[in-house]
Symmetry: D4
Subunit: 129 residues, 8 copies
Amino acid sequence: MVDIAVISGSKSDQLIVDRILGRLKDEGVSFEHRVLSAHRNPKELEGYVSGTDAHVFIAVAGLSAALPGVIASQTHRPVIGVPVSAKLGGLDSLLSIVQMPPGVPVACVGIDNGENAALLAIRILESGR
Amino acid sequence: MVDIAVISGSKSDQLIVDRILGRLKDEGVSFEHRVLSAHRNPKELEGYVSGTDAHVFIAVAGLSAALPGVIASQTHRPVIGVPVSAKLGGLDSLLSIVQMPPGVPVACVGIDNGENAALLAIRILESGR
Amino acid sequence: MVDIAVISGSKSDQLIVDRILGRLKDEGVSFEHRVLSAHRNPKELEGYVSGTDAHVFIAVAGLSAALPGVIASQTHRPVIGVPVSAKLGGLDSLLSIVQMPPGVPVACVGIDNGENAALLAIRILESGR
Amino acid sequence: MVDIAVISGSKSDQLIVDRILGRLKDEGVSFEHRVLSAHRNPKELEGYVSGTDAHVFIAVAGLSAALPGVIASQTHRPVIGVPVSAKLGGLDSLLSIVQMPPGVPVACVGIDNGENAALLAIRILESGR
Amino acid sequence: MVDIAVISGSKSDQLIVDRILGRLKDEGVSFEHRVLSAHRNPKELEGYVSGTDAHVFIAVAGLSAALPGVIASQTHRPVIGVPVSAKLGGLDSLLSIVQMPPGVPVACVGIDNGENAALLAIRILESGR
Amino acid sequence: MVDIAVISGSKSDQLIVDRILGRLKDEGVSFEHRVLSAHRNPKELEGYVSGTDAHVFIAVAGLSAALPGVIASQTHRPVIGVPVSAKLGGLDSLLSIVQMPPGVPVACVGIDNGENAALLAIRILESGR
Amino acid sequence: MVDIAVISGSKSDQLIVDRILGRLKDEGVSFEHRVLSAHRNPKELEGYVSGTDAHVFIAVAGLSAALPGVIASQTHRPVIGVPVSAKLGGLDSLLSIVQMPPGVPVACVGIDNGENAALLAIRILESGR
Amino acid sequence: MVDIAVISGSKSDQLIVDRILGRLKDEGVSFEHRVLSAHRNPKELEGYVSGTDAHVFIAVAGLSAALPGVIASQTHRPVIGVPVSAKLGGLDSLLSIVQMPPGVPVACVGIDNGENAALLAIRILESGR
């Protein structure tokens, strides 16, 4: 049993992931982390998402960041997306994450803002009915 | 007792608010709606936020949309921000809502995307520990 | 046996789809069209992509347009992405489609430019080894 | 009694603050400086704004820079906002500061342009009826 | 003797000017309005700016909006700039007005936001030493 | 006989070209590379394009990157464009390459993304009728 | 013998062309107009550019507007580029025209600003050594 | 008697100016250079512009770059504007220079592209009637 599942799309996002994990550890919630790309590991991603009992997902991705939206289409749990600045200052990943079509919601936080992703996940954990 | 509190910054956001409320009603969760500006009604806003027992907040705002962030600084509940396209196609409100400083998280959805705000709120309601 | 598979993410993209299909018909290549969202119909999408013998895919999508990239991760055929202007003049879908991570290529054409998607598909059909 | 109150949202804005303070000192006007975040110290901020007799406020903030607008909603004095470039070259803070809703005016100067904030404050000081 | 001088760069800005003048009239401050382009009427502009005893200037301009900056270089009074959306949603005039070089400050308000220009001018009028 | 022709507009694009050539070599397809500017070597460019029997073209260019479009107007083979980030984070070259007028298609990949250009070219090679 | 050659890339640019021609007629300079696309009529374009004795070229184009740059590579006369707003408010054509590589200069005027193209051409006509 | 007058708005633009002067020297045309700000030295600027017999002006400026437009309003000679990247990658100065109102034309070249300014000036010198 784990509270929060953190998934990053590439090893190059590790710096942002470390801030998330550090903050979650400080706050005393349980978590696990996987590196799984929506494009390169779709099967492993789907298997992991459907198999975990995490309450909240945090997805970290740069460029045309499909990861948070793909996870949101595979679970009914809340999914937090963290855009990473790889090109164009992160505007590409921000728009890719936040502009989801109606029906598949993603909770986007600021560019490279791992800390807020962790804090938002904890707020969600503590706010269910 | 109410599940979700929807707050919009101005009457001009009503079209987006209606989509949120309609969707929440369809899903059978309880909610209430207030029009309270972070800039023009700060006291009423603070009073309402501290007094409600809502589990999740949805804040709708255009232009330099401070409303979601201000609410997030007044509660420990999750706050969902909905940017409204009034100028620049909504880029101003999107950046104002999503680029929160570390420590005060807001869950941003897409521009004018009231439906996803409602759906994200319901996911959060159902996902607490 | 079909030459080109055209997939759109939503019925609201039909105007762009019609231009693609019209042009393909004019050029005398065979094609079929499906409305399948990467987020709302992931299983049907995967089934269709793996089952068709089309040589080239054309994927039409707006907002955070994950469709072309998801298809490209499910096939080794060339995938052409057509960004649709729904918000921000189409900048969101353009960046979502074109800024793919290394390893999963998508061939992006201009915003709402269905005609060029059709013409590019035909060039590809006629240029294999 | 002080002429100008300079408030910055974070210690990371200190470089811009130093340019403001240096210029104010050169010009021989009295001032004081506080680090108070609209999101993290709302009570202290409100107490300071309502308690000071400063004629003009200068608010320095990056990202989704709500500080100038929040101050402007708490005082009838002129408020000058200085956007700081933390992400996206400062476009986020610029739009957050300048695109205020009708009714709560903020005087925005250029990105990182502390000198002009100081000079504008002095012009205002010397121009009342 | 007049409190506020409103200058617009072109007759096409009249809609924004009307909102400014209406608000100033409501607030009971005295004002006058001129249509003077920084590019097409530089001499008349300079003559008017140096001759008026207005306490505050409001300059309204679209496109590459040089008017507020030019006025600010001709007076030591505060100058408020109002960007008008003629092309690119007003981003061109916003950047032209707000990104002034150090030494010549302009107080920029939001795109097409005549009301806030009027309100800011009144705050300035009432806040001198 | 060569599979793929790689053309770059300037020697300053060599870093991106090297990634393309390296990847093509790894994949075992034949290729050749020329440095030919659409603006500075139009005759040599036209001569090379009309003379080669390459199946696919990859064109690498920064700034107002006309090279891919000009090649596409000189051949009926597929042309892949790679925008290079020289100014504005590469937004200028991205828009110059992707926003082709109807009738002359270019397959655009991500900014500086030479690897995907190579992979897309290989997909095309293997997908003709 | 003609003073100014006006070339537009598409019939859809005619509204802007009409403003140019109207202004040139008013000013009493001689001119001729051709519709020639850099991508669809490269041979006719080159023939026309090399054959005319016009002193100045005005090139009107939207989207990835290669026309002005291609003309500038075929003549040593000054070339004025007029970006047309077809998509993204004209930002695509503006960047395509203005961001020319060193060595092939184009004189860019504002988006859809045919009048300034005409006036700039006349200034050039009257300013040679 | 001088062919080309180069005016820069600030000493911080010197790197771009040096490229212009170097290229003009190589090409054997006569020139002179002044550092004159439209905002800080309006009188000296106007005196210099009206007094010189230069055929062409090159104006170099960053931020809200009013210099080229102001010069164009003071002379009937062609004025070339060179945007300098100081903030936002130079997008602010590009839009400030290129988006001139109808009636006062400026010939804009690419961001930081001093070489093309020099080459365009030479083309103009050699192309009068």
